[in-house]
């Protein structure tokens, strides 16, 4: 009974956060693609948001919500939902942005040539065109939300720990009591919920969403019952009107008044940020912590890099399976969604306690893997699925096999999605690193040096905390800008196989 | 004043050689519409090919017919070596080509990056048009063995005797 109530609480939070993410993602994505100036600013912001290790900002966000609602329960709920939201929203926003950006020009022109009203165009052309990205990225977002469930239900307020009812907090309780069966039941529930979601909703939708792909050929996928049900629900709840409103507001040019408000908010934000930075860099400096940052960042970077490399290599065999094999790719997608939703963070403390400090180094890399492997898998198999058949056929005709095939055909062909996979794995691993280096189990503390450990040690010192997160984010963003993005665009240009 | 006055090859080597082939088969004289028909009535290919052949003084248009010039007639009877020599001679006098060759000769490595041509071809052209000009100019220059292109490094190099040994494959890259 307790389990069911916990499961309902968690599911409710994840779904509220998910719907908010959807709304935000559609609005933001559409808005960002509706003008070159907006695009520049909004995509840069999104890039940074996506790179910020969410777990690092948890304490700050919680403090904010708790302060606004003066410690009431609703504040805690909102904080939890917000945290889940931050793990789901960015990737949907990016997906929507890319879809709208690459929407075939003819489709838009049909609307104009046959004089569709604006609402009609949004409803019949823009929204359906977003279906594939939204469905696919929802799998990632869902898994992500469950992965961070734990952190969102146990909220530390100063010295006090508040637990919201839910599977995450139940698991923590069971763990503290040493009730292994309880933990297993919780995990089982999470797996069950996600399996049901996959079987009943996402898998049929993924198959169906192929219908919305432009320039697809071959037989059309069947129309699944779940799509009808969702449509009817959507109609009854007037979701379509909401979505249309969302999109049309997103694409609207700002009115003079709105612009003014926007500038004021922007100015306030920049001012606040400026003040924050000024405050951060004005004495007194938490110099003992500052001096540790470079070394700590270096070790953690090494672990993250190791995790990314391992994740990519582990994902490769699966990716190879899904080349030109839609069924395999869809299975991998479902499997990744289910397994990726297990909050591996939970097992981590007892396992570390079991192995002791001596094994913590490899175990931490393992944890980073649980936070990064699924991203690599998701993105890489998505790319592999879309690989043109001629390439593999050509390889067959000329009997190109083995090393030659992988080196000269397959790897170059999937290099762009491989880089995307590695890039997202890189972000995920950083995020997980925050909980990987410092563990408390019972009354014992286990710790290995690194930026995550440093962060946990300085939660009481807001300034130090912010400085650490800032350094981390800066490093991640810099590497994205100087390494991943250029590499991606070079690879995408060189190995462009869509033409 | 009009943009098409810019002396640049608008068609590829293979297209012009094909045109000469057809003309030769037809006895050095062919109706425009018949030529159009052989090309599937693709007006762009027709215009650019004739124009390019004119640039090299190989054909002329006379009263709705395309005919060989004296040079063109000779050209078709020559071997590959002689053809390349002739093209090289005309090509290296085109303004943009002169500019490119000078830049190549002056640079230390005898090479410039791929964007060099895009930078120097200015005027009222769209990006697509410029890309197209560059592609064709390089096509001809490679045919004439004035330069070679390193696609991995995205650089253009001056063709010299030693380089020929290092890059034996670059001569058969035209289709």
């Amino acid at each position: 009974m307790q389990l069911i109530s916990a499961a309902l609480w968690s599911t409710y939070r994840i779904f509220v956060a998910y719907f908010l993410s959807l709304a935000f993602g559609i609005f933001y994505g559409v808005s960002a693609s509706s003008g070159p100036r907006r695009e520049k600013i909004m995509i840069a912001i999104l890039d940074i948001l996506q790179s910020v290790p969410i777990l690092g900002f948890f304490p700050v966000a919680i403090a904010f919500f708790v302060a606004v609602f003066r410690g009431q329960r609703i504040g805690l709920e909102l904080a939890a939902i917000f945290l889940i939201f931050t793990s789901q929203a960015w990737n949907i926003a990016f997906g929507v942005y890319e879809t709208v950006k690459t929407l075939p020009r003819e489709l838009v022109e049909v609307g104009k040539a046959f004089n569709f009203s604006k609402t009609f165009t949004i409803q019949r052309i823009y929204l359906p065109a977003m279906v594939p990205t939204i469905v696919f990225n929802s799998g990632v977002s869902m898994a992500n939300g469950w992965y961070f469930l734990m952190a969102s239900e146990i909220i530390t307020l100063g010295s006090q720990e508040v637990k919201l009812p839910g599977l995450g907090s139940s698991m923590m309780n069971y763990l503290a009591q040493g009730n292994i069966l309880g933990v297993v039941m919780c995990i089982g529930t999470i797996v069950l919920i996600n399996t049901l979601l996959q079987v009943l909703i996402f898998r049929p939708l993924v198959k169906w969403s192929e219908l919305f792909q432009y320039n697809a050929v071959g037989t059309a996928p069947e129309w699944p019952a779940v799509a009808d049900v969702l449509f009817d629900f959507g109609k009854a709840l007037k979701v379509d009107t909401v979505l249309v409103k969302l999109v049309s507001t997103g694409t609207k040019k700002l009115s003079a008044a709105a612009k003014y408000v926007f500038y004021v908010i922007g100015a306030a934000f920049v001012g606040g940020l400026g003040y924050l930075i000024f405050w951060l860099f004005s004495p007194p400096y938490p110099s003992n912590i500052l001096s540790q940052i470079p070394a700590a960042l270096t070790v953690t970077t090494m672990r993250v890099v190791a995790a990314v490399v391992i994740a990519v290599f582990l994902a490769l065999p699966f990716v190879i399976r899904s080349v030109k094999n839609t069924t395999a790719a869809q299975n991998i997608y479902s499997l990744a969604s289910i397994l990726g939703s297990i909050p591996a963070v939970v097992f981590y403390p007892p396992i570390v306690a079991l192995g002791g400090r001596a094994y913590m180094e490899p175990l931490s890399i393992l944890l980073l893997l649980t936070g990064s492997f699924w991203y690599a898998l998701f993105n890489m198999s998505k790319g592999a699925m879309l690989l043109p058949g001629v390439l593999t056929e050509m390889a067959q005709v000329f009997n190109i096999k083995g090393r030659l095939y992988y080196k000269n055909i397959l790897i170059p062909a999937i290099l762009p999605p491989l880089i995307t996979g590695a890039l997202t794995a890189w972000g995920g691993a950083w995020n997980a690193s925050i909980v990987a280096e410092h563990v408390q189990f019972g009354d014992k503390v286990y710790s290995i040096p690194g930026i995550g450990a440093l962060l946990v040690q300085s939660t009481s010192d807001t300034k130090a905390l912010l400085l650490i997160v800032l350094c981390m984010t800066a490093l991640i963003v810099l590497v994205n800008m100087l390494f991943w993005r250029p590499w991606y665009s070079k690879a995408a240009k060189k190995y462009n196989i869509t033409e | 004043m009009h943009k098409m006055d810019v002396p640049l090859p608008k068609a590829r080597v293979s297209e012009v050689l094909g045109l000469l082939e057809i003309l030769d088969d037809e006895g050095g004289h062919v109706d425009l519409y018949k030529l159009g028909r052989t090309l599937g009535h693709d007006i762009d290919e027709l215009i650019s090919t004739i124009e390019t052949a004119q640039l090299f003084n190989l054909v002329e248009v006379d009263n709705g017919d395309v005919v060989f010039t004296e040079v063109g007639k000779q050209f078709t009877d020559q071997n590959m070596e002689q053809r390349k020599n002739y093209i090289s001679e005309v090509l290296s006098k085109l303004p943009y080509m002169v500019e490119l060759l000078t830049a190549l000769a002056e640079s230390e490595e005898h090479s410039v990056d791929m964007e060099y041509l895009e930078r120097i071809i200015d005027g009222e052209y769209s990006e697509r048009e410029v890309k197209y000009f560059v592609r064709n100019l390089l096509d001809w220059a490679r045919f004439a063995e004035l330069i070679w292109v390193d696609s991995d490094e995205q650089t253009i190099h001056l063709e010299t005797e030693e380089d020929e040994e290092n890059n034996p494959e670059q001569n058969d890259q035209e289709e």
Partner: protein, 258 residues
């Protein structure tokens, strides 16, 4: 007999901006489209043919100059104008019938009437029994039939066609051209005039009453040629070939000094 002028295009000029460069695309384009006329616009790639159609159909509305429809400024968009796209531009997630119904729905036509009209035009282009198929399941020729049925279903007076056959293989294109000619000659439709863009000269001579020849970018009209040949036309016909030669010579004369 002087025909009624449906469209009067006057002094169209258009400049696009690309990376800070100004690219002049249309230069002083003026022409008329008369009632009962099949007009073809030919010219090299990039000469602005599609752009002219976009302006008339209301897709593009930043230009200088005037477009008059029956003497009045062309309404934007003009419900009496319809369009066939080069790349078909069918909506992939809608069936053949739904694709056609969509444009009818956008005009506020009631559901039952929509279905009836859609089926009638599907029938007219010879696609009966394919109404429930998705575009991806059709061949290129069949897709363009849907494109044509959709354009006709809104019962326009003027049909704009942007290289409607250029994405099809030669034989399919020839077949579909015949059918368009037949539809046009039958005069069963409310359709009054067609303005078609092509860069296939033979196609233009095959279909048009009059051909307008455009120069390379910036596009301006070099000249026009009337095609006074009885239909159905035969491209091996002597008179046909003469006109074809004239079109070729005209289009080449702008570029090539003879």
């Amino acid at each position: 007999m002087t025909a009624v002028t449906l469209l009067d295009v006057k002094n169209l000029n258009l400049t696009f901006k690309e990376k800070g460069k100004e690219l002049s695309v249309l230069e002083d384009i003026s022409f008329t489209l008369d009632e009962g006329e099949f007009l073809c616009l030919v010219g090299p790639s990039g000469s602005g043919k599609s752009t002219i159609l976009r302006i008339i159909s209301g897709i593009l509305n930043e230009y200088t100059g005037e477009v008059l429809y029956k003497g009045e400024p062309n309404p934007q968009p003009n419900p009496n104008v319809s369009m066939v796209f080069q790349s078909f531009a069918l909506i992939p997630w809608l069936t053949v019938q739904e694709n056609i119904e969509l444009v009818l729905e956008a005009r506020g036509i009631a559901p039952r009437q929509r279905i009836r009209t859609a089926l009638r035009y599907i029938d007219m282009v010879g696609l009966d029994s394919f109404e429930d198929a998705y575009p991806r399941e059709l061949s290129g020729g069949m897709r363009q039939r849907v494109g044509i049925a959709r354009a006709l279903a809104v019962e326009p007076e003027i049909l704009l066609m942007d290289e409607p056959f250029s994405a099809l293989d030669v034989l399919t294109a020839a077949d579909l051209r015949e059918q368009v000619v037949n539809l046009w000659l039958e005069k069963r439709l409310p359709l009054k005039s067609v303005l078609m863009v092509t860069h296939n000269m033979e196609e233009a001579v095959f279909l048009a009453d009059r051909i307008l020849v455009l120069s390379a970018r910036p596009g301006h009209i070099i000249g026009e040629i009337s095609v006074d040949l009885p239909r159905p036309r035969d491209s091996r016909d002597k008179a046909f070939e003469e006109i074809l030669d004239k079109v070729y010579s005209m289009i080449l004369s702008s570029r090539i000094k003879s």
